[in-house]
C-alpha cells in the first residue's frame, strides 16, 4: 500500500542492510537526495544492481562504505572520467564485483517481472564476462535442429527499487515518462520507493497522456517529494547536470580523505536544507 507522501529520510528507512537495491542509470532519474539520506542513515552491505549502469550514485555509496557487492554493466562518470571510489574499491578487493552486460540486466529483470525463472540472451559466449558468471548457464536452444548454444540468465527480483521521477500524484502513482525500464524494475522488485520532483494535480493513471509512462501506486510502496532530488545529476526535461559539482566531486574523490571531506560537506548541506 502506498503512503504518500513521506519524508526522504522516512522513505529510505525502508531499505534494510544487505538489501538487493536496484539503481537507475544517470539519464533515468537518479535519487540523489535519497542517496544522501541513505548514507546518513548508515546503511551497510548493500548489493547494488545498476540498471544497467551507474555513476555518481554508486560511487558515493561505495565511498561511504554502504556497499558489499556491485552488479553492473559499468560504473563510470562519462566525460568526467573514471568513478574514483568504485575504482579504488575494486582494485583493493574491498567490494565484490559482479560484472554483467547491460542487456543481460534488462533481460533478467524482465524475467523477474514475469515470474519466470530465467531469460535467454544471445551473445556473451566466449567473453570473460560469461566465463566469470557461475550463475549463468549455457544450454542448446531446444527449438533448433542442430547444436545452438545460448546463455540463460537467472531472473533478478530486487528487494528494493529506488528512483527519482518527474511527477507523483496524491494517489501514489509515479510518472517516469520514457524511462520505461523503471516500470520493469518496479514490476520485478519486491518494494519500490520513489522520490518525485513535482506533484501532479490529478490521477496519472486516469490520464491517457501519462498512463503509458506511469508506475501505478499498486507497485509503489512509498513516495517522497524531493525538489531538485536528482542534483547534481540531471532530470530529463527539468534540469541539466551540475557540471561544476560533478567536476569537483571527481577531483575531490581521487583520494579517500578528499572524498570524506566532500561527503561531509554535502551531507551536512542536505540536512540543513531538509
Amino acid at each position: 500500500m502506498t503512503e504518500p507522501f513521506v519524508s526522504v529520510d522516512k522513505l529510505v528507512s525502508r531499505i534494510p542492510d544487505r538489501a538487493l537495491l536496484a539503481l537507475p542509470k544517470d539519464s533515468s532519474g537518479v535519487p540523489m537526495a535519497a542517496t544522501r539520506a541513505l548514507i546518513r542513515r548508515g546503511v551497510r552491505e548493500l548489493h547494488i544492481l545498476c540498471v544497467p549502469v551507474s555513476g555518481l550514485q554508486a560511487d558515493m555509496l561505495i565511498g561511504a562504505g554502504c556497499v558489499a557487492t556491485v552488479e553492473c554493466g559499468g560504473v563510470g562518470m562519462d566525460e568526467f572520467g573514471l568513478a574514483p571510489r568504485f575504482r579504488d574499491a575494486v582494485q583493493q578487493g574491498a567490494i565484490r564485483i559482479v560484472d554483467s552486460t547491460c542487456p543481460a540486466i534488462y533481460a533478467a529483470l524482465q524475467a523477474g517481472e514475469k515470474g519466470n525463472p530465467f531469460a535467454p540472451l544471445r551473445g556473451l559466449i566466449g567473453s570473460d564476462v560469461q566465463r566469470h558468471r557461475d550463475d549463468w548457464l549455457i544450454i542448446d536452444n531446444p527449438f533448433a535442429g542442430e547444436p545452438d548454444p545460448i546463455v540463460l540468465l537467472p531472473a533478478i527480483r530486487p528487494d528494493v527499487a529506488l528512483f527519482h521521477a518527474r511527477l507523483g500524484d496524491r494517489h501514489g502513482n509515479v510518472w517516469v515518462g520514457n524511462r520505461r525500464e523503471l516500470i520493469t524494475v518496479a514490476h520485478a522488485a519486491a518494494c519500490s520507493l520513489a522520490t518525485v520532483e513535482d506533484l501532479f494535480d490529478g490521477d496519472l493513471v486516469a490520464d491517457e497522456r501519462y498512463v503509458a509512462g506511469t508506475i501505478p501506486a499498486l507497485y509503489v510502496d512509498a513516495v517522497a517529494h524531493a525538489p531538485n532530488g536528482a542534483w547534481p545529476l540531471a532530470l530529463t526535461g527539468r534540469y541539466d547536470r551540475d557540471r561544476r559539482a560533478l567536476g569537483d566531486y571527481v577531483a575531490a574523490a581521487r583520494t579517500r580523505a578528499g572524498f570524506d571531506a566532500w561527503l561531509a560537506r554535502h551531507l551536512d548541506a542536505d540536512t540543513v536544507a531538509a
Binding site: 542509470k25 539519464s27 533515468s28 540498471v51 544497467p52 549502469v53 553492473c72 554493466g73 559499468g74 560504473v75 563510470g76 562519462d78 566525460e79 573514471l82 568513478a83 568504485f86 575504482r87 575494486v90 582494485q91 583493493q92 578487493g93 565484490r96 564485483i97 560484472d99 554483467s100 552486460t101 547491460c102 542487456p103 543481460a104 534488462y106 533481460a107 524482465q110 540472451l121 544471445r122 551473445g123 556473451l124 559466449i125 566466449g126 567473453s127 570473460d128 564476462v129 560469461q130 566465463r131 566469470h132 547444436p147 545452438d148 548454444p149 545460448i150 520514457n178 524511462r179 520505461r180 525500464e181 523503471l182 516500470i183 520493469t184 530529463t236 526535461g237
Partner: protein, 257 residues
C-alpha cells in the same frame, strides 16, 4: 571564414600530431553512408558527429540513434529497446571502444592486470558482450593509438572479436579507427589490415605504436581529407546538433562556421 583552417586550430589543442576531428569523421563517413541505422553509445562525441554528418549528407537516409540524447534516441520503450532492436538485426552499425584492443579484435573495457582485483579498473563491459555479436558492423574507435591500448592480447575479454563455428553470431568488428590510422578487420583471417594512415603519420610509425601484428599492404594510402562541403556541414548543422548532446566537445574541438 575558412572552416578547414579552424578545424586544424581546434585539433592542435589535443597535442601535436593528433588527427583533427574532421579527419576522423571523414574516415568514418564512407562506412556510415553504406548503411541506414547507426547507433552511438554514451560518451562518444566523434562517432556521434560522424553519424549526424551521415544523416546530413544522405539527406536523412542514414538514421543516427545517439544514446544520451532525447532527440536522436528515437525510442519510446526505455533502455532495453536499443538492445532489442539490435537483437533483431535492425541496428547496422555500432561503435565500441576499449581500454585494450588486440589483433584478433578482442576488446577489454573492464581493466588491466588480474581479475577481479584489477591493476587499473575501468568502468565495465556495458553492452559490448552482446552488441559485438549482433550488430553486423561494429566500428572500434579509440583516439589513443599506443602499445598500451593496442596490445598483443587483452587482459580481459569484454567481448571476443570472433567466435568458433557453432556459436551463433551475426555481428562483429568491421574497422578500427585511431588517431593515427584506419584498419579494416578481415573476419576470415581474424586480423586487422591497415587501410590508411592519417595525414602526418606513416605506416612505420603506426607499426611502432601498435602492439599486435597486422597486415600492411605496400604503399598504404593516406586517409582522404574530408570534402570541403562536408567540413562546412560539420561546422554548421552538425556542430549545432552535437552541442545539444556534447556542449563542451562541440565548443572545444569542432570548428565554428
Amino acid at each position: 571564414m575558412n572552416a578547414a583552417a579552424t578545424t586544424t586550430a581546434a585539433a592542435t589543442e589535443e597535442g601535436d600530431g593528433a588527427a583533427s576531428v574532421a579527419t576522423l569523421v571523414g574516415a568514418l563517413l564512407p562506412m556510415l553512408l553504406e548503411v541506414r541505422t547507426v547507433a552511438v553509445g554514451a560518451n562518444s562525441p566523434i562517432p556521434a558527429a560522424a553519424a549526424l554528418l551521415a544523416e546530413e549528407v544522405s539527406g536523412g537516409r542514414v538514421r543516427p540513434m545517439i544514446l544520451g540524447s532525447d532527440r536522436y534516441g528515437p525510442f519510446s520503450d526505455g533502455g532495453p529497446e536499443l538492445f532489442d532492436r539490435a537483437g533483431q538485426g535492425r541496428i547496422d552499425v555500432f561503435f565500441l571502444g576499449g581500454g585494450q584492443i588486440d589483433g584478433e579484435g578482442n576488446i577489454n573495457l573492464v581493466g588491466t592486470g588480474p581479475y577481479p582485483r584489477a591493476t587499473t579498473r575501468l568502468p565495465g563491459s556495458f553492452g559490448s558482450a552482446y552488441l559485438y555479436f549482433v550488430v553486423p558492423r561494429v566500428i572500434l574507435f579509440r583516439e589513443e593509438h599506443s602499445r598500451r591500448v593496442l596490445v598483443p592480447k587483452v587482459d580481459f575479454v569484454s567481448a571476443p572479436g570472433w567466435s568458433p563455428p557453432g556459436v551463433r553470431r551475426t555481428g562483429g568488428p568491421h574497422a578500427l579507427l585511431t588517431g593515427r590510422a584506419l584498419f579494416h578487420y578481415e573476419r576470415a583471417a581474424r586480423r586487422f589490415r591497415l587501410a590508411s594512415v592519417h595525414p602526418g603519420h606513416t605506416a612505420d610509425e603506426v607499426r611502432a605504436a601498435t602492439g599486435f601484428a597486422f597486415d600492411c599492404p605496400p604503399g598504404v594510402a593516406e586517409t582522404a581529407a574530408p570534402a570541403p562541403g562536408h567540413v562546412a556541414l560539420l561546422a554548421g548543422p552538425v556542430r549545432d546538433k552535437l552541442a545539444t548532446i556534447y556542449p563542451e566537445f562541440a565548443r572545444k574541438r569542432l570548428p565554428a562556421p
